[in-house]
């Protein structure tokens, strides 16, 4: 009986209008805060937009941040399709960077770039996957909830990295906990360098080849989830664990697989940061991206295309927010974080706040276009 079921909204409302309305709501509330700080909200929005998209350099920074969010956003989305809430993206990204860095530091004097870089990327995936596999195993076979274990593993990862950078990997003679710089063969070329190679001149920015890898990952995740039997099984598990059992899907193995893939995706943050930008192992390079990925996946409705768009939004908030704090002394860095938090709040936790009103507003237009329910009901 269709009685209690919520009518699905048309796809363009659900995936297009609703998120836009949510972001606008968040920005209006943020506007009040900006106003309280004595800044004209319209001015602030202009500064943020110009800061995020106003120049080649700005776009480069926005996309560079977005690259990290794509990786962690895909990580959260993929796990979510298996019904798993992986909030350990932070630690998995950190470990991914360690993997990439160790390979780069260990082999940059022996191997050529064509072998070394794929190897380092694989190591990032492997380390991220391994870091997620342990909570995955504990969830699948020992009943420890991954929300608890993955967040614990974030702390373990942080402690491990401090130990390694202070005691083991620190560059000889250095005062700060950083490794030596990795060799040029292990560094991913920045996009402005590549574009210069084909005769295009763009302003320098940290944007590097990882962005292309991120785009490929979006396609790969989509293909995996909707075009392979394993992806299908993963989605069955996520939507209906009883049906998975009925269908003979190995719940334990699928759980571990989902978390491994999720961890590998998060690990690619290390590729962008260590091989692409920092060129050395440092502390806290993944800070914030793991948790940001949760919001990105939420806003992107756990779809790779949505994750890509939401990542650009978050990249713009990061980059534009930095400009905002720079331009207006009365707006502190913390207020920028508040603005970002509002976007997360309205797009994530309050995502369905305006849904009933939208449904009511849309209803007169869809009633005549009779839904599937009506047809089924009458058959």
């Amino acid at each position: 009986m269709a009685a209690a079921r919520r009518r699905p909204l048309p796809i363009w409302v659900d995936a297009g209008l609703l998120p836009v309305v949510n972001v606008l709501l968040a920005l209006s509330v943020a506007g009040l805060i900006v106003l309280a700080a004595g800044v004209d909200p319209i001015d602030a929005v202009r500064v943020m937009l110009v800061g995020a998209f106003g120049s080649e350099e700005a776009v480069g920074y926005t996309l560079y941040y977005a690259t990290n969010f794509v990786f962690t956003g895909l990580a959260v989305a993929l796990a979510f399709h298996a019904g798993l809430f992986n909030i350990g993206g932070e630690g998995q990204a950190y470990l991914g960077g360690l993997g990439a860095g160790l390979v780069a530091l260990g082999f940059d004097r022996i191997l050529p770039a064509a072998i070394l870089i794929p190897l380092a990327v694989a190591a990032a995936a492997g380390f991220g996957a391994a870091w997620a596999a342990i909570p995955g195993y504990l969830q699948a076979y020992r009943g420890s909830h991954i929300v608890v274990t993955t967040i614990m593993f974030n702390f373990i990862a942080a402690a491990l990295m401090v130990y390694l950078l202070v005691n083991v990997l620190i560059a000889p003679g250095s005062m700060s906990p950083e490794s030596r710089e990795i060799g040029a063969v292990a560094q991913l070329p920045a996009l402005h360098v590549l574009l210069r190679g084909i005769g295009l001149t763009v302003a320098p920015s940290p944007l590097n080849l990882s962005a292309v890898w991120a785009a490929l990952c979006c396609v790969a995740v989509w293909l995996f989830l909707w075009r392979t039997p394993r992806g299908y099984e993963l989605r069955v598990l996520g939507h209906n664990a009883d049906a998975a059992r009925y269908a003979g899907i190995d719940v334990g193995r699928t759980t571990v697989l989902a978390l491994c893939l999720s961890g590998a995706l998060a690990g690619f943050v290390g590729v962008n940061e260590i091989l692409g930008v920092q060129h050395r192992l440092i502390l806290d390079f993944a800070a914030g991206y793991g948790f940001g990925g949760i919001a990105v996946a939420l806003i992107g409705r756990n779809h790779p295309a949505g994750v890509a768009l939401a990542s650009i939004l978050f990249g713009a908030l990061y980059q534009g927010g930095a400009e905002l704090a720079f331009d207006f002394p009365s707006i502190t860095r913390d207020m920028v974080v508040v603005i970002q938090g509002l976007v997360i709040l309205f797009s994530g936790a309050l995502a369905n706040l305006v849904r009933p009103w939208l449904e009511a507003a849309i209803a007169p237009f869809v009633r005549d276009a009779r839904g599937v329910d009506a047809i089924a009901e009458e058959s």
Binding site: A3, P229, G231, A243, G248, D250, R370, D373, A376
Partner: protein
């Protein structure tokens, strides 16, 4: 002037999104009668009763109680006007006693002791007046289902209900409990209570009601005095075309055993035996029916045979494969052995609600060609397969990309049955083949099961509908307390005999 009807509905309209669930429904119910409301799933009968009980508000129309218009915006309003409802799924607190459950939320005094004393007096009166015996101090969780239902009725009466709505009250009862319920309804009627009975079982309508209202597609299509109509006429009104209720079934021609179960046992986590020493042989070309009150091991038997749970004792033999505690088979292996399974709870196990129908149509077979080739899922193959299933089993709408949850219950069940029959299994396990689906689809599914039997498949069917088991099964096993309590040849079965075996242990 005659007294006004106790309930009158005028031109009730209700939309759910694009679905017109009630279309200008007008209905008058006379005081002190038993009115049956029947209709297929989705006919709008539950919606109408939910409107009358204040659970949903109508978009248009008027409700009159004793001739005066009322507005029922929440159940509390309905209760204040003397309307009570017993839901299909009971709303009781298992750990509280009967008395506490009845008084809960309607305590007559601020202090619990005094409230309960007052409730006890009132409860005793109600029990005496209407033959609703229940021990007021028994914890509700320890009572049999029939007694829990009486507690629900007592709850409504305690709150002053003069009109009692019962939603599919017999779905969980044994035949004996059903008879008892109907006796209670008659004594309620004698005491001046008006009863509205929602059901899809025609036999109950004939046995218990004074008038019957037939709904179809959100409209009242007929109102009849029960004495002046019969089952065939009502079925035709419900479905909108002629329905043949009786199956003409050729005698079975059993072949060799396809699946043999010996001394099968299953203990749950606490060590309680839910299956105990079960022996049965399923022969090719035969339907074996398992009858029993819900929760006597039938579900577990199906789950073990489907590979969803490993037995803790005994063995299952399928061809050369012997399945035991030490050599269990998972559902994927069972499918490979030719054992297909239509699960009892189709929404929980049988499909994935948000998946497109074509995705649900390969659940359990997702790794087989042509759906999967070299590690890739072929959406075109899924669509082709799904469209073929939908055509053969008359699933509507026949669109492979509709969400599975967008199909009505009957169409979901037809799709699942089609999926499980498609690979031509040697053994088909079917749980509740027609639970909660409409007469037209029931007829269709029954014919398909018989055709499959005649094609040589061994079918094991678990159902709480005795009518269904008696109509289809060639052999009937009755389960009680996890054991086989008796075996009856299908032709010799009658309801009373099965009912006695069901409660034997």
């Amino acid at each position: 002037m005659p007294p006004p009807p106790v309930i009158e509905l005028r031109a009730i309209d209700k939309w759910f999104g694009a679905v017109h669930a009630n279309r200008g429904v007008s209905l008058a119910i006379a005081r002190g009668t038993i009115t049956g409301i029947i209709g297929e799933n989705g006919a709008g009968k539950s919606t109408l009763m939910n409107i009358l009980y204040g659970l949903v508000e109508a978009d248009g129309g008027q409700i009159l109680v004793d001739g005066a218009p009322v507005r029922l915006r929440r159940p509390a309003d309905a209760i204040a006007h003397g309307i009570g409802m017993v839901h299909q799924h009971f709303l009781l607190v298992d750990r509280l006693t009967v008395l506490e459950n009845v008084a809960l939320g309607a305590e007559a005094a601020p202090l619990l002791g005094r409230a309960l004393r007052a409730a006890r007096v009132e409860l005793a009166r109600l029990e005496r007046d209407y033959g609703l015996e229940v021990d007021p101090d028994a914890p509700v969780g320890a009572l049999p289902i029939g007694a829990q239902q009486r507690v629900e009725i007592l709850k409504a009466l305690y709150r002053g209900a003069r009109v009692l709505i019962l939603d599919e009250p017999t779905a969980v009862l044994t035949p004996q409990e059903t008879d008892r319920l109907f006796r209670i309804l008659r004594s309620l009627k004698a005491g001046g209570v008006t009863v509205i009975l929602i059901t899809h079982k025609l036999r109950e309508i004939m046995a218990a009601t004074d008038t019957v209202v037939v709904m179809r597609r959100g409209e009242v299509v007929a109102e009849r005095a029960t004495a002046a109509t019969d089952r065939e006429a009502l079925a035709e009104l419900m479905v909108g075309r002629k329905v043949r209720l009786a199956l003409d079934k050729a005698p079975a021609v059993p072949g060799p055993p396809a699946l043999v179960v010996e001394r099968l046992g299953l203990r749950d986590r606490r060590g309680v035996a839910v299956l105990d020493d079960v022996d049965l042989a399923l022969n090719a070309g035969e339907i074996v029916g398992i009858a029993g009150v819900s929760g006597n091991g039938q579900s577990e038997l199906l789950e073990v045979l489907a590979g969803m749970r490993a037995p803790t004792a005994g063995r299952i033999t399928i061809g050369a494969r012997i399945i035991t505690r030490h050599a269990p088979a998972d559902p994927a292996e069972m499918r490979a052995l030719g054992v297909a399974h239509v699960p009892e709870d189709r929404r929980r196990f049988g499909l994935v609600a948000p998946f497109e129908a074509r995705e649900s149509a390969v659940l359990g077979y997702q790794r087989r060609a042509p759906f999967s080739r070299r590690g890739w899922l072929d959406p075109a193959a899924l669509s082709r397969h799904c469209r073929a299933l939908m055509t053969h089993f008359d699933v509507r709408p026949p669109i492979p990309t509709v969400p599975s949850a967008g199909l009505s219950g009957g169409n979901q069940q037809k799709l699942i049955l089609a999926r499980e029959i498609a690979p031509a299994p040697r053994v088909l396990l079917v749980g509740q083949p027609t639970r909660g689906i409409d007469i037209g689809a029931i007829e269709f599914i029954h014919r398909r099961l018989l055709a499959l039997r005649d094609a040589g498949c061994a079918i094991l069917m678990v159902s709480v509908e005795l009518d269904e088991i008696m109509a289809l099964a060639d052999r009937i096993l009755v389960m009680a307390g996890g054991r086989i309590a008796g075996v009856v040849a299908g032709a010799d079965a009658d309801e009373r005999r099965l009912g006695l075996m069901m409660t034997a242990s």
